[in-house]
Symmetry: C2
């Protein structure tokens, strides 16, 4: 195992772009902070970790990422409390997951010390970009791409790991309407659906654009074989509330093991809400909608936090979900945000302060 003890070098940006950013009016993922973290893999080793001014970089046209999609990423957030303290939420989960994604794509694992030192160095330099207040956050995007300039269809020998940061509000603000997948699919058994592999996302764009033409914002994916089991949305895991019980699909090699999802399962237990982790059929949810027992559906993910779903369509039939008084979605969202923003007790040790 290569040893990774290089010190992270820092080159500060001479000017800041922060004055040009309207923090009350942010489009997700368009504005980036003044710095970024970069580390290259060469000769079997991650080398030269550095924080440098955010900038474009040069790539050979034959860089393997352009041809064979060897690319994985993560999505996390940094939060600031009113005292100016900065927190990450369960960041070790993201660290572990990016390496799990990399392994599935035959990419080398990134060292834990570089991941956290890089992230923390970056957050200290770009501290001003993290705004306090619930709803504000700095979205963090670690990613790894294959840079080797050769187009043989095999794992690359050169990679670049980066972290870039983008100030964010919650991704979806209002309730979303979704289409249940009947023809297209997101992932296969034995495929890469459980990895945050770049190619999984592009694959969803076309079906999602068809859904959008019909007036739906997202798709809930079903199993590719039978389209009878509800799996997850494009960037969110999905929960169904039938009467007072929650149901969510089990993770598998088709479904991303979401940090928000697993946090909600834990919070449900804390709150005494039954949460069944099991296969859930389209039929069952349609029936629950018809007999009035379906109270809520919501998506859960870092970008959107919790995203209530107000309607779904299946086989050209539309099912509307009326707002409920004691919404679980609202309760979980509030509970999560309070933990993330240091406004409540953190009994599971999910917050990690960046000092």
């Amino acid at each position: 195992m290569a040893i990774h003890t290089d010190k992270i070098s820092v080159e500060k940006s001479k000017t800041s772009k922060i004055g040009n950013v309207d923090f009350s009016n942010l489009t997700f993922g368009r504005e980036f902070t003044d710095h970024m973290f970069v580390c290259d893999y060469e000769d079997g080793k991650w080398q030269n970790p550095k924080v440098i001014p955010y900038q474009a970089m040069s790539y050979e046209p034959s860089a393997r990422v352009f041809h064979y999609g060897q690319a994985v990423f993560e999505g996390m957030k940094a939060y600031k409390d009113d005292d100016g303290k900065v927190f990450l939420f369960r960041p070790k989960q993201n660290f572990d997951r990016i390496n799990k994604s990399s392994a599935r794509l035959a990419m080398p694992a990134f060292p834990e010390n570089y991941f956290f030192e890089g992230l923390e160095t970056l957050l200290k330099l770009d501290n001003e970009w993290i705004k306090p207040g619930v709803g504000n956050s700095l979205y963090l995007r670690p990613f790894v791409i294959a840079t080797e300039p050769a187009i043989s269809a095999s794992p690359a020998n050169m990679y670049r790991f980066m972290i870039i940061c983008s100030p964010a509000k919650s991704y979806y603000n209002s309730a979303v309407r979704v289409l249940i997948a009947e023809h297209f699919s997101r992932s296969a058994n034995g495929g890469v659906g459980a990895a945050k592999a770049a190619g999984n996302y592009a694959a969803q764009f076309y079906p999602t654009s068809l859904a959008q033409q019909k007036g739906f914002q997202q798709i809930i994916w079903t199993d590719a074989d039978t389209h009878t089991f509800l799996e997850e949305a494009g960037t969110m895991n999905v929960f169904f509330r039938v009467n007072d019980k929650l149901i969510t699909a089990p993770t598998s090699d088709r479904i991303l093991d979401g940090v928000t999802r697993k946090s909600i399962i834990q919070l449900a237990e804390d709150l005494g809400i039954t949460c069944e982790v099991r296969q859930v059929t389209v039929e069952e949810i349609k029936n629950a909608s018809k007999d009035g027992s379906l109270k809520e559906i919501f998506g859960a993910g870092t970008a959107a936090v919790i995203s209530p779903i107000s309607a779904f369509e299946h086989h050209e039939e539309l099912f509307e979900i009326a707002e409920v008084e004691d919404s679980y979605a609202k309760k979980f969202k509030q509970t999560l945000l309070n933990i993330q923003h240091n406004l409540s007790e953190d009994k599971h040790g999910w917050r990690r302060e960046v000092k």
Copy 2:
């Protein structure tokens, strides 16, 4: 529909790298010619088509291709005959297919005139890189990547189309040994398997590396649901010869519609060889191997042309395929190469001379 009538601008390289290249000893996809074709999509339009010196280019870290794998490609070859004439093989097929791939990934179609004018301009400038003689070719790699610098998970508004060229010998020289997929899979029903989407290839690297550790070069993928139907290899379609009959799987949304495959189906007809295009089971081929009726298996694709398969393993059982006298693989390879290199009649009009 945007009109695409910009003239292709040309900037010639001041020096040539060709003197540094050992054409008798080429590794696939490592050396590139002196020029490349580049055209950008912005404001709803492909613009500024140009042939420029082969070079690295600058990309924002937020370029969407790095995050969501919006990237498709093609693989074609240029051949030179002994009179120095240059030919492409069924290039319209590749042009149509890259746009089909793009459509599946919610990417804009590339205009036909730019595709062919760009390609031909490039081939004229880099003519010296195309060596005559059967077995030599210039591998051409058109590809499209999403360049928009914003990480929202939706189709980009900015793209780059490029063609790069790499001198090549046939990809696999000797017979390959393959593993039949039993756990991992390449694509899902309703997925992007029929597209030459970048992410499809990275997804195969890890399972293929496991196969390689066991002494196999490639995997023959099976259907993700049951692993009972034989589909295709990583970069080749697959043909089975049982007695004197050929069998190949039908194309579907899981299988790439290969140009070599469809040419072989036609050549088989020309040669009076029965070719059944139908689902083919692992069981059937194992049985045929056991009773001696399995004569050949071979892969078919632009890079490898025809690649004989000498053994396959399934459920830990190894099946060896002895060499046959009147090999179809050899016959098809020779017939194809003769057409490609202008050594035989081209009754289907597959050759396209680059003038």
